[in-house]
């Protein structure tokens, strides 16, 4: 039913299209503004939020540095609690496991609680190929699924839709997938939610197999956790006979006690609430209560590649709260679709290229550049992922991958080689600076004045021209540092003091005032 991100153009192209959609920008500005304010309010209530973030970071780092140990421990705990554990190297393997379970129970439908991992592996499409309907039960996911659309936000997948658009989708599509929306449906959120309740209830009550993800998986006890608001999660986790949970291998927590840190960080960062309405935990099978057949699929799908990069590894700390999306000036204007991935926004810009690998397609390689590097994402991240650091690191990886791919040296390579030849000799450097100074004096006359009064160069000739066309290039100094040093004996001779700061008195410690003595 729903599409895939395959074929999304590179970020700059996709972003340009998104920016032309004024309805989208209005919807996004309203939603992200609202949630930023809520988050700030509840975070300020916590006395020692920074210490809590440090604890969250430390717990996840502990897991990541010893992941094989924790995964083996988790498997033992799950099996001891009556669950069946499967391992999946990639999307195809994970999908096959889920399809097998559904087919073994002879069902042609499953109910699903929203899960980033199953979106990542495109489980719905794999189930459909096997003739099995996957019903998304989160309200926003339902809107996306019925609208034959793609999610655009980790937490609020239909953030790009307003109430009028949602009403139209419900009226048009609900009847085709089950119970139709009432004819007198208005665009009031309460009425829309009631329509979803009626539409989905019949599916919950008859479903035999459910599919979920997990927010956390406790190695010590085998406890899985799902954090949600609507109760659709609880419906999926407790009503069907069979439950399959697809869990990324980075979701492990060492101990049950660690849940206390995460259950404080996640809701406040995510929905801006002190606590989300419903959190469910289950440890294998509970006789007489809930599913009596419980499967857990431990999913790699590129995560061990992320783990192998000591700088990029921190992206696996992510608890999918989406706080970074809501503060990102780029996300707020382009929305999630432009990122071409189930993980949009700042976290998507670092996680997606690492999971897919850089150097193979232009869309993926454009993501580390989909940022202004303002750093707001790091400030709000509850597990302190230094997203700007990883973005810059990945930009380097993209450049290196392209260098490996093409043996022909780029303009940049040649410029760097020339610079290193020049800079490695004092004589050559001095000669080059004399030329630059001369050129600078000349260019100063030919240049123009930038806003703010700085002298800048006009058009540059040769290979540097495209670079200079989009930037203000400062006019080079009229005299090189070396020649200034020689002429003034490092500022000791009086000839340099004519326009220096020394005579302005102590109130103005101009640069050089100290060094001149």
């Amino acid at each position: 039913m729903s599409g895939t991100f395959l074929g999304t153009p590179a970020f700059p192209t996709a972003a340009r299209t998104a920016l032309e959609d004024s309805q989208l920008r209005r919807n996004l500005a309203h939603a992200t503004g609202t949630i930023r304010a809520k988050r700030a309010g509840v975070v300020s209530e916590v006395d020692d939020w920074e210490q809590l973030r440090l604890a969250g970071e430390a717990i996840k780092d502990r897991v990541l540095r010893h992941l094989p140990d924790y995964l083996e421990q988790l498997e033992r705990s799950l099996v001891a609690a009556g669950a069946t554990v499967h391992w999946a190297r990639d999307a195809a393997e994970a999908n096959r496991i889920v399809v097998d379970v559904a087919q073994r129970h002879g069902t042609d439908e499953v109910v699903k609680v929203k899960s980033m991992a199953t979106q990542e592996i495109e489980l719905n499409e794999a189930l459909a190929a096997a003739g099995i309907h996957a019903w998304e039960t989160d309200l926003a996911e339902l809107i996306v699924q019925l609208g034959d659309d793609l999610p655009s936000h980790i937490l609020v997948p239909a953030i790009h839709r307003n109430r009028a658009e949602i009403r139209e989708i419900f009226l048009r599509e609900m009847g085709r997938a089950g119970r139709a929306a009432p004819d007198d449906l208005t665009d009031e959120p309460a009425r829309l939610a009631a329509a979803a309740r009626t539409h989905l209830r019949e599916k919950f009550l008859r479903a035999k197999v459910a599919v979920s993800g997990a927010n956390f998986a406790v190695a010590e006890t085998g406890t899985l956790t799902v954090v949600e608001s609507e109760g659709n999660g609880r419906m999926c986790l407790t009503l069907p006979e069979v439950l399959v949970s697809v869990v990324g291998i980075e979701k492990v927590l060492p101990t049950f006690q660690d849940l206390d840190v995460m259950l404080q960080l996640l809701p406040r960062s995510s929905t801006g609430e002190r606590m989300n309405p419903y959190t469910s935990t289950w440890t294998g099978v509970t006789p007489g209560d809930g599913p009596q057949e419980v499967h857990v699929v431990l999913l790699d799908n590129g995560r061990t590649d992320v783990l192998a990069d000591p700088t990029g590894r921190q992206a696996l700390r992510c608890i999918r709260c989406s706080a970074c999306l809501n503060v990102c000036p780029v996300y707020e204007r382009t929305g999630g679709h432009a990122y071409g991935s189930v993980y949009p926004g700042p976290i998507g810009a670092i996680l997606t290229p690492q999971l897919r690998g850089v150097g193979t397609d232009a869309q993926t390689d454009s993501l580390p550049y989909a940022s202004s590097l303002c750093g707001a994402c790091f400030e709000v991240c509850p597990v302190r992922i230094d997203i700007p650091e990883v973005l810059v690191h990945l930009r380097g990886e993209v450049v290196r991958a392209h260098q490996r791919a093409s043996r022909v040296p780029s303009v940049q390579d040649m410029a760097m080689k020339a610079a290193s030849w020049t800079l490695s000799s004092a004589a050559r450097t001095g000669a080059a600076e004399k030329v630059a100074g001369l050129g600078g004096r000349l260019a100063g006359r030919l240049g123009r004045t930038a806003p703010g009064g700085r002298a800048v160069l006009g058009a540059l000739p040769g290979p540097a021209s495209p670079w200079a066309d989009s930037r203000d290039v400062p006019v080079p100094a009229a005299e090189s540092f070396r020649s200034w040093w020689e002429r003034t004996d490092g500022g000791r001779s009086r000839s340099d003091n004519t326009d220096g700061g020394r005579s302005d008195g102590p109130a103005d410690p101009a640069p050089g005032a100290e060094g001149g003595r």
Partner: protein, 217 residues
């Protein structure tokens, strides 16, 4: 090679920078020191205030007045059944004295089907822990609390919490819980903010949460 072996091997190779002998606890986890928590009555007051913040109904009573409050919470409902009587799900272990006499009682248990749960007008339960800071009720589905589905499918959940079950914060609650049991943390009624981030109560879980807070005399 099995998928299990392949993933573990890849993860081990990926962690070549981590010294082999490092204990799994090499990254120290320092939790925030518990702040100056409110005590006694103040904790219970905070709990009541924060539960109400989620647009749940909170009423307080001493043990003697609780039955009237439970009956009042149910009396406002319109019965689903044609005979005009409320069908109320009651888990084994729920205090008998708090169940009103004029309702049809359905006793929760594995034999109660999902369709029967859906025909109930409401459910009564006790709780395991209350968390003041977040206004959360935690069920561990022990006696009086029912199976997980019991407090989910009916549209009204009346939950009786004793004031001595209320703890200040989330860490206090986690420390009290038995990981082997399933848990349901409830903070207000079912809600969604998926439409323009407008909070709407009631999607799939109970649309009304009514908390009766028992303060002993």
């Amino acid at each position: 090679m099995s998928a299990r072996e392949a993933i573990l091997q890849r993860a081990r190779r990926a962690l070549a920078d981590v010294p082999a002998g490092d204990p799994v606890t090499d990254v120290p986890v320092v939790r925030p020191a518990p702040g100056p928590a409110p005590e006694g009555a103040a904790v219970v007051d905070l709990f009541a205030e924060r539960v109400a913040d989620y647009r749940a109904v909170v009423e307080r009573a001493d043990t003697g007045g609780a039955a009237a409050l439970v009956a009042g919470a149910l009396a406002a409902r319109t019965p689903l059944a044609g005979d005009g009587r409320l069908r109320i799900l009651v888990p084994p272990g729920f205090p008998d004295g708090l169940v009103p006499g004029d309702v049809d009682v359905v006793t929760d248990g594995p034999e109660v089907t999902v369709a029967e749960l859906d025909r109930c007008d409401g459910v009564l339960s006790t709780a395991a822990v209350g968390i003041a800071e977040t206004g959360t009720i935690v069920l561990d589905h022990g006696p009086g609390q029912g199976r997980r589905a019991a407090t989910l499918v009916p549209d009204l959940h009346v939950c009786v919490v004793r004031s001595d079950q209320v703890v200040p914060g989330v860490p206090d609650a986690v420390a009290l819980l038995d990981p082997a049991r399933p848990h349901t943390w409830i903070s207000g009624p079912s809600a969604t903010s998926d439409i323009e981030l407008d909070r709407v109560e009631g999607v799939h879980g109970p649309r009304t949460l009514h908390v009766v807070l028992l303060t002993p005399h």
